[in-house]
Amino acid sequence: ERRQKRQVIFKRAEQYVKEYRQVERTEIRLRRQAKQVGNFYVPAQPKLAFVVRTRGINKIAPKPRKVLQLLRLLQINNGVFVRLSYATTQMLQIITPYAAWGTPNLKTVKELIYKRGYAKVNKQRLPISDNRIIEENLGKYGIICVEDLVHEIFTVGPNFKVANSFLWPFKLSNPTGGWARRKVRHFIEGGDVGNREDKINALVRRMN
């Protein structure tokens, strides 16, 4: 029984590794192709964002406070995955002064879930110590192991909402090496808040 499940998980993980590599190489290939011909390659708009709350509890205006609550960013250094849509992008704009966000890469997603992944089970925050926890709660959506969960989050699959809400908001540490000198300013201005696109990976690497 368990052996069969392990075999399935193995196969899936193997398949995902292939898939990620394929997607990555396709991207690169398309870029190179376009460059060769003299065209412009326009990559797809990002579907996934990772948002980290940079500010504390006090002195938050009511609207950003509500948006932070809706995104489950209730504590400083809390991080959540967000599916990017027009609506959510507007939400992120509202909380610009209070959060740092960007597009995470696979390594970021993986490491977050492996190291800091806790599940919301029966209103309790339980560590993802075994695939059993994932299977019991997300089995009906076809997610039975950590790799499935990572895949669902990273590729923003059809059950992203369920998978994401299954994950308790990540409690990250303060970054080693520190924040920018004045972290409350926008990333563009030399601070830390706001959209920093793929530079979020470096930040999470230091906060994880």
Partner: protein, 368 residues
Amino acid sequence: MAARPVVSVYGLNGSKLEATVPLPSVFTSPIRPDLVQFVHKNMAKNHRQPYSAKQQAGEETSAESWGTGRAVARIPRVGGSGTHRSGQAAFGNMTRGGRMFAPNKIWRKWHVRTNTNQKRYATASAVAATGVSALVSGRGHRIAKIQEVPLVVSAEAESLKKTKEAVALLKALSAYADVEKVANTRSQRAGRGKMRNRRHRQRRGPLVVFAQDNGISHAFRNLPGVELVDVTRLNLLQLAPGGHLGRFVIWTQPAFEALNKVFGTQTEASAQKKGYTLPQSLVTNPDVSRIIASDEVQAVVRPAGPRFTKRPFTQKKNPLRNTQVLVRLNPYAQVLRRTEILGLNKKTAKKSHKKAASQKFLDLLKAD
């Protein structure tokens, strides 16, 4: 209900007589230490005498406050001059010679009434407790050598007249140790009670219960600690002194037999206490461990779990650092790790290969 247990009667020389008495129903009434304590507390307040401070104490001055501006506290001060008392503070509870805070009044409610049924329940409980030797010895009575509890003596005891005979009876019953205990514990009271006609204190001895006083009270009354009481007038304050159950009681046979009339039985009401029947216990069989061990219960009980259960998961281990945990979560990771290590070797081979090429190139260059 099974046949009522039977209590032997002892003669004046301490030997067991032919006669036996079935145990009166009172002795099966539930023993309720909480109720006895409650009722005893209330009953004990009933022989209190009022006390209070003198009504005008501390107020027999015409003191007035000097007000502000005189570099003294604003407490009322005694007027006049020519004596130490003038200018001294008066009236306050904090002042010397002033009135106390909230002077006690004689109209304090000294006596407490308790519901009659509660009082009767408590006495029934207390009588039942006198039949439990563990409670009696737990209360401190020296009954180690007693033949039986409850201790019933033949009716001849009621006609004893001389204290000598009473002592002989107690010694024959091995009950004299309790009286000796009382005599040995007679000591002076600590505190002012000494000068208030309460000089000595001593323990309580046996309680002798009779049905008819034909001289028994004269015989026993001078023995220290021994109390005598008519069976129709059993007093909770004597049956459970201090609210503690288990007084050592010596019954005479007629008194013991009269208990069924005084308290009634499970089926008939009491003759003496109008309309009163003995209290029923809430649980017919209070031996819980015996119930659990019984066949009926054990037949439906599920098998017991392990004595100590291991806590399943007490520490989260980081899969990024702990390979075992990583593989537990993602079995394919083992393959990835392996190829990584092998791939590393391949890389160094490539490097060395590259170096060779560059050397070749240099030779070509130099050949020119």
